[in-house]
Amino acid sequence: MSQSSARWRGWRRFARNKLSVLGAVLIAIVFFCAIFAPYVAPYPEHAGVVVNFLDANQPPSAKYWLGTDTVGRDVLSRIIFGFRNSLMLGAVVIAISITIGTAIGMAAAYLGGKTELVLMRITDIFLAIPSLVLAMAILGLAKPSQLYAMIAMATVWWPWHARLVYGIVRSLKYEGFVVAAEVVGASPLRVMFSELLPNCAPNLFTKASLDMGFVILLGASLSFLGMGAPPPTPDLGTMVSEGAQYLPDIWWLSVMAGMGIFIVVLGFNLVADGLRDLFDIVG
């Protein structure tokens, strides 16, 4: 069995899982909207500061598919731009936390001894504090902005990646191929990054996909609490939060933005499930 056929089998497994395919489609749509937001959105200018009281508080209609908000901006357009924001937030947070988490988990597991003890206790401390509380505490030190929100969330998130990598490397560090590299005289850095890291990658990808949804959700929670991106940036969490004041009369504000979050989170979670199967078979 050749390598390409193994990969092909993986894809077929992925494809057989109907839900993961659905997830992939959802994500593809979201990405498409986010990238081409100015062209996809019916009223791209509504992403910014636009006041159009004539059309304020319109329920979903043929003109405004998902209705308008209290200043007359198209909700659909704002959700589409909101995707952009959410995806960027998720990607940045996960990139930072994977980098930090992998470095710490890998060093702790592979080097062992005191390094392991210190690094893993620090990780445990971070894990012991509820993530929303920790993120809020960090944000409490600065005035709300997208950048600070991302830093706060990465601080909350890396310990999970550290734990994951730590577990994998612990189980692999006595494998034959690691010993073989050490005997040849490979440096610890080479063993960690060239031999061990590729074996962590599938799990990291799967977890990243799963986390994408949760990070976006956490981001939305922070925005909801007024700690995310300040107005007028279209942010799904902020939209839910603002709309909540007008429930239940102007219901579409919160509900539609909430649906937007739901679609992104669901999509990433479903794909993560399929990725697990995919990497399971690709050796």
Binding site: M1, S5, R9, R12, R13, R16
Partner: protein
């Protein structure tokens, strides 16, 4: 003597994403009363799968199983699962390769042994059960049964655990014991001892044994009759004495030639080529691509032919006569 297990034309295919994988291609074998039969072959020959098929332990999904497995008059392939479970563990028991993995480390040996014992002898009271277990352990040459019963599997050596497994496997005085590579995970000296104990007990209890092994030498010491498997088929069957004195199938001969010998310091002969892919259909003899005697006639279906008590799936038998 009466046959207690008769496997006939067992054919097993798993449907995978890459298409069907033909694991067993018409396996027929029998075990008689008081007989030890060995199923010997290399990895991928289908010997362990055969054992699992007999025990009804194959996964249900994407499986096509044809043929019959008749154990004391009832066909296990069509038997109800509940009835099958009942017989398995009482009339037909099993021992696996790694005793450490088969025993649960969170329960004492006593707890696990009691669970096994109460299935076959629910009528025993605590005192009787204890006496029964101690006797069984003494039978497998364990001098201090009480200490062993009090222990957890991780506190005992591999050899002791294996002997405990044998005692458990035989406590119900089964008609048939299926042993899948017993002792392979153990040190050679311990393995030898274990086999001797198993052999002695099978004789004194009258238990038949179907013995799965990859090791020709072990088979030679243990079994009365040997079936050699290759690529999902039995290619040769004979009494142990006959098989080792006069191996007939080219594969059996090649396999024997690949064992290092004490009587010679020459390197053993490897078998060229590799085992056929079970995903590919095989025409005729599966050993043909690796066989020096092969001719075009080998592409025909090859039935097992009888030579005295020996059965061989090879058309080139006159050459050996």
């Amino acid at each position: 003597m009466k046959e207690i297990l008769t496997v006939k034309d067992l054919d097993l295919t798993f449907d995978t994403l890459d298409g069907p994988v033909n694991v067993l291609r018409g396996v027929s074998l029998s075990v008689r009363e008081h007989e030890r039969v060995a199923l010997v072959g290399e990895s991928g020959s289908g010997k362990s799968v055969t054992a699992r098929a007999i025990l009804g332990l194959l996964p249900e999904r994407n499986r096509r199983l044809n043929g019959s497995v008749v154990f004391e008059g009832s066909d296990l392939v069509t038997e109800r699962p509940s009835r099958l479970r009942e017989r398995r563990g009482r009339d037909m028991t099993m021992i696996f390769q790694d005793p450490m993995a088969a025993l649960n480390p969170v329960y004492t040996i006593r707890n696990q042994f009691l669970a096994v014992l109460s299935r076959s002898h629910p009528e025993l009271n605590a005192k009787q059960a204890e006496a029964r277990m101690s006797d069984a352990l003494r039978d497998v040459s364990i001098i201090d049964p009480t200490r062993v019963l009090d222990s957890y599997s991780f506190q005992l050596s591999g050899g002791l655990n294996q002997r405990v497994m044998i005692a458990m496997g035989l406590i119900s005085r089964p008609r048939l014991l299926i042993a899948d590579e017993p002792g392979t995970a153990l040190d050679v000296t311990v393995q030898q001892q274990t086999l001797l104990i198993m052999k002695r007990l099978s004789e004194s209890y009258g238990t038949s044994i179907l013995f799965i092994s990859h090791n020709l030498g072990v088979v030679r010491q243990f079994a009365d009759r040997v079936c050699v498997m290759y690529s999902g088929r039995i290619v040769e069957e004979a009494t142990t004495a006959e098989l080792f004195a006069n191996p007939r199938h080219p594969y059996t001969r090649a396999l024997l030639a690949s064992v290092p010998r004490l009587s010679s310091d020459e390197l053993p002969e490897p078998i060229e080529g590799s085992v056929p892919d079970p995903r590919e259909p095989i025409k005729g003899c599966p050993f043909k691509p690796r066989c020096a005697l092969a001719t075009d006639d080998c592409l025909q279906p090859i039935p097992l032919r009888e030579f005295g008590t020996q059965r061989v799936a090879c058309i080139h038998q006159e050459e050996f006569a």
